[in-house]
Amino acid sequence: MVRDVAFGQYFPGKSIIHRLDPRGKILVFIAFVAIIFCTFNYCSLAVTAAFTAMFLILSKIPFKFYFKSLKVIIFIVIITSVFNLFYGTGDVIWQWGIIKITWNGIHRAVFVTSRIICLILASSCLTFTTSPTELTDAIERLMKPLNVIHFPVHEISMMMSLALRFVPTLLEETDKLMQAQKARGADMETGNIFKRVKALIPILVPLFVSAFRRAYDIATAMECRCYRGGTGRTRMKSLHLSALDVMSFIAMGLVIGGVIVCNIFIPSVI
């Protein structure tokens, strides 16, 4: 069922990772994404993988949820790794017709797969441990300087947080609609692609209609609760960096340093 998607969900908790300042978490995450694409040998890859593993363990969220979030993208992972496997350069170690496998291809496949997996795990870790409100709040604060050039920072972050709030609601609604249309004999399991896309119309039209209705309702509800844009707004939870955040920065710095050192002393394999 659609509801089983774990990616993008939030699991309330009190772990070290949960307690990190969301702004710090976002910065660390961005640095991590950058550094993961700078791993060119197994040593630096191991450093980033170890760093990911450390975060997952510290988040105290059962591993099955991380596996679930991987399951969603497993298809993409396989496709990209297969492509990389066959498009390597250098000495051929196995050939069948035009398909040839090289050591370089194997390395590439391993790297691409590991990078995507680390990326998904790290972003899952971020969304699992940070509530959507915290996340958007942090983005709003990080982007505050853009207010100077009249970039609508508050509006955008409000939209993001509302969108995130309605993800589970709309997923549930999709589920219900699918059941209801199936009860009217809609066939969504068989037929060619064209037929299947057409079979989605009875789901998508009501879903859009209801999304608009909800949007209208939520706007009314927000006005009733004295919402008038970002000016003069306060927040219940004020953010401040703690020793924990500093430690996460140091850890990130060590990883960056480690990857650079590895890259200098060990030759690249891809």
Partner: protein, 281 residues
């Protein structure tokens, strides 16, 4: 003047200048709401009760007539937010009025908009959640809660603004019986213990029976009003307009019609049993 005073209000969703015969959703309504009262407004869908509700916190402004909240005219733009601070509005669908993904963050939304200090927001959120009995759920995600729980969170969200009055627009229409009971118990508690003025728009007469005062609306007008006893004893009038009456009242009324000696129409099962006991001897 009373806390809320509705004076000869007319309102149409049509453009009254452009349309020849505009349909008035609210058509000449005058009502007074006292501080600390618990009023139920009942009537069919389309009778104008929801439109009236939106006039009470300046979400809609009358085409003609006036609405005063604590002495302020709702059409005075400078007073809009003062009025919404005093009169909170809870809507029908609990899913569509929760804005945040965590219960306590949702309840904080109102006071955050008002620019309240963080420490004070925390206090208000905690006490609002305790008042509706949802404090233990403050870290939960709203979509995992039952309808009745979600609606109580919505009520807490309005409470955190510290209003003097809460207007609820069919808050129980989408709930199951236990959810309805949860919401009603919460409202009675807020009214009796915290002195909050409650105006409940509903089409369940068993909820209206619990109020101090009942207003019946039909086709944009006030059909009748009074205490629940006064209103529901007019069985004929209500039936004529195809509104529900408690079965107890209907039975007593019809027995009376057959010549039984009945003076006062009962609303609850208990009163009815006592009455019938006397009549049967």
């Amino acid at each position: 003047m009373n806390f809320i005073s509705v004076q000869n209000v007319r309102f149409s969703y049509d453009d009254i200048e452009e349309t020849k015969n505009p349909v008035y959703a609210v058509d000449g309504v005058s009502l007074e709401f006292e501080k600390g009262g618990f009023t139920a407004v009942i009537g069919h869908n389309g009778c104008g009760k929801s439109t009236l509700a939106k006039h009470l916190n300046a979400m809609l402004l009358p085409d003609s007539g006036k609405v005063y909240v604590d002495g302020d005219d709702t059409s005075d733009e400078n007073k809009t937010f003062d009025i919404r601070e005093k009169v909170g509005l809870v809507l029908q669908n609990p899913d569509n009025q929760l804005v945040a993904s965590i219960v306590e963050e949702d309840v904080a939304f109102g006071p955050e908009n008002l620019g309240v200090e963080p420490a004070e927001i925390r206090k208000r959120v905690d006490s609002a959640l305790k008042a509706v009995g949802m404090y233990d759920y403050r870290m939960h995600a709203p979509y995992k809660l039952s309808g009745g729980q979600k609606q109580r969170i919505a009520i807490a969200g309005v409470l955190a603004i510290e209003p003097q009055c809460i207007v609820l627009d069919e808050p129980t229409a989408m709930l199951d019986p236990s959810g309805r009971a949860e919401v009603m118990n919460t409202l009675i508690k807020l009214n009796r213990e915290m002195g909050i003025t409650v105006i409940l728009i509903t089409h369940f007469m068993e909820e209206a029976v619990l109020a101090d005062r009942v207003v019946v609306m039909d086709s944009g007008k006030v059909l009748t009003q009074g205490t629940p006893d006064e209103v529901f004893s007019q069985v004929e009038l209500l039936k004529k307009h195809r509104l529900d009456v408690p079965q107890a009242a209907e039975l007593a009324f019809r027995l009376k019609g057959r010549g039984a000696k009945i003076d006062k129409i009962p609303l609850t099962a208990e009163d009815c049993v006592n009455l019938l006991g006397e009549v049967l001897g």
